[in-house]
């Protein structure tokens, strides 16, 4: 099971047939395993990795540090829920260190993101402070370098 996930995490394109060959399993076994992982919410979905900078889609990404007062009896989870329910929020993590929640937000413009922070996040009762950091350029994501040259420079035949 772990091996299927490892392979898919590097290349979600792999077919059941390919996985079966690589793992010495039957296709039925692979299918059953994948279905089970979906059911158990271990495998949540497949998404392509896109370098949006090469498209004409205009949008910005920001990472926002939030300091929070945890709620009695509910810790950070309740606040987190109120935040991740916004569709603009693409990722939300509870952090150790000098702030509590890391919020990744996407918007069409910097202004839109800034307003979202100012109007939705900052006024929340338990939010003590916010710090917004805009992403200027993505070099690497999910272990993939965006501009890597993949030319095979080996000699074509060696013994």
């Amino acid at each position: 099971m772990k091996e299927i996930l490892e392979l898919l995490s590097k290349n979600a394109d792999l077919t059941v047939q390919q996985l079966a060959v690589m793992l010495d399993m039957t296709e039925d076994e692979v299918n059953a395993c994948i279905e089970k992982m979906k059911k158990d919410k271990v495998l949540l979905g497949y998404k392509p990795l896109i370098n949006w900078d090469k498209t004409d889609r205009e949008f910005v990404t920001a990472m926002i540090e939030l300091r929070i007062t945890p709620q009695r009896g509910e810790g950070f989870d309740k606040v987190a829920e109120r935040i991740y329910k916004y569709p603009q929020v693409k990722a939300l993590y509870l952090m150790s260190g000098s702030y509590d929640l890391s919020v990744t937000i996407e918007g069409h413009t910097m202004k839109e993101v800034a307003l979202f922070v100012a109007e939705k996040l900052a006024p929340m009762e338990s939010v003590i402070s916010t710090a917004t950091h805009f992403v200027l350029k993505k070099y690497k994501q999910e272990g993939v370098v965006f501009e890597e040259d993949e030319v095979d420079t080996r000699q074509v035949i060696t013994l």
Binding site: L7, N11, Q18, V21, M22, R154, V156, I157, T158, L159
Partner: protein, 392 residues
């Protein structure tokens, strides 16, 4: 000069056959869309921490010769690595020599040991350097044909048949290039039994030792009881750590033999590349995970490859080591060279004819899986089409 310049070349060298792949190399070089399964080196680039260590050694000005036997720190690290990985004990001072690739270690060992007329036993098919090195040392190469029915292992019977009073050295090239065969502990013990009452030394070329798959484990020959005293172990960084271009290998063995090898090395080479040696220290210290991961990737590809050849109806022995498969192409009615040449022209896939690795490789081709799965699958698709077109 009133003599043809060729006549100045020493006859021994003049008569050395050129490499069996030159022809293919030249053809492939003219094609842009050919895919190759022809390489004998990893597709992974050297792990970044190792490259970084090399860069750092340059920044720190470590640009001088090292001691002839190699940087002591590297030898000590090697000694720990061999202990940790294989329970081998070699003294970094005296029983180890760092060389320019495993190839130099092979050449040195043969030159240090072989006298004119001495016979050197070479299981074949195997890597191409053992015969020429033997000939250059004045020795007589004696091939031992290994066969698919024995999983391309060297068997005790075959070894026994070839041992004569002139036999000086047995080469043990396992895990094997080009067949991918490995020798397991029981197989090696059978070999040891044959050698026990002889004066035959062993050069164990274990360059692919880290690349052994599924449940199999690599057992170094010097680990077999009583064999250490007669064995020169050769290994290197090329395959395990994806460091082919750094040219770094090593030899371990009885101190008298290593001392003899150091003597040749100090005159011919001086010392192995300094930058590479410092990078190699990092490789030994901090790359276990990288090696494990590369091995895992190779194993996936190996399965794709073996499965692919079997599906197209070619006999394909399951290799458990190195990164080659060695399918039998006799059913196509073509010779290895015909197969490779036609495959290249018709489907633009480069593989290596088995006979490049000794006459006994005839009827086989070597396909490397040091490529991405995508590349391998495309190549297999083309080979399948080719085999179908030519089946009778």
């Amino acid at each position: 000069m009133n003599k043809d310049i060729n006549e100045f070349i020493s006859p021994v060298v003049r008569e050395l056959p050129p490499s069996g792949i030159r022809k293919f190399f030249d053809i492939v070089a003219t094609m842009d869309d050919a895919i190759s399964l022809g390489v004998g080196e990893p597709d992974f680039v050297t792990p970044w921490n190792v490259r970084e260590a090399g860069i750092y050694s340059l920044e720190s000005g470590r640009t001088y010769y090292t001691s002839n036997a190699g940087v002591l720190e590297l030898r000590e690290e090697l000694s720990r690595y061999l202990k940790r990985k294989y329970q081998l004990t070699y003294n970094p001072k005296g029983e180890m020599l760092v060389t320019v690739g495993g190839s130099e270690a092979i050449d040195l060992a043969i030159r240090a040991l072989v006298e004119p007329g001495d016979e050197v036993l070479i299981p074949e098919p195997s890597f191409v350097c053992y015969r020429p090195c033997t000939v250059l040392a004045g020795g007589v190469p004696v091939g031992i044909v290994t066969e698919a029915k024995d999983n391309f292992k060297l068997t005790a019977e075959k070894l026994k048949e070839k041992i004569t009073s002139k036999t000086k050295l047995l080469i043990l090239p396992y895990p094997n290039n080009p067949t991918g065969a490995i020798m397991e502990k029981e197989d090696l013990e059978e070999i040891a039994k044959v050698l026990k009452d002889t004066n035959v030394l062993v050069l164990s070329d274990e360059i692919y030792s880290e690349l052994v798959y599924d449940e199999k484990v690599h057992v170094p020959f010097p680990n077999i009881a009583d064999m250490k005293e007669r064995t020169i172990l050769v290994n290197g960084f090329s395959k395990a750590f994806a460091m082919t271009g750094w040219r770094l290998g090593y030899a371990c063995g009885p101190k008298e033999i290593i001392a003899a090898m150091v003597k040749i090395h100090q005159y011919a080479i001086m010392s192995a590349p300094t930058t590479s040696q410092y990078a190699a220290i990092e490789a030994l210290q901090n790359c276990d995970e990288n090696v494990k991961d590369m091995c895992k990737q190779y194993n996936y590809r190996r399965k794709v490859m073996v499965n692919g050849f079997r599906k197209m109806g070619l006999d394909c022995f399951e290799p458990f080591g190195a990164f080659y498969v060695f399918p039998c192409i006799k059913s196509t009615g073509m010779t290895s060279e015909e197969f490779c040449e036609k495959l290249l022209h018709e489907e633009k896939v480069a593989v290596v004819p088995g006979n490049a690795f000794g006459a006994s490789g005839e009827g086989y081709v070597r396909c490397s899986y040091a490529y991405s799965v995508k590349n391998i699958e495309e190549a297999l698709k083309r080979i399948e089409k080719f085999v179908k077109n030519h089946s009778k």
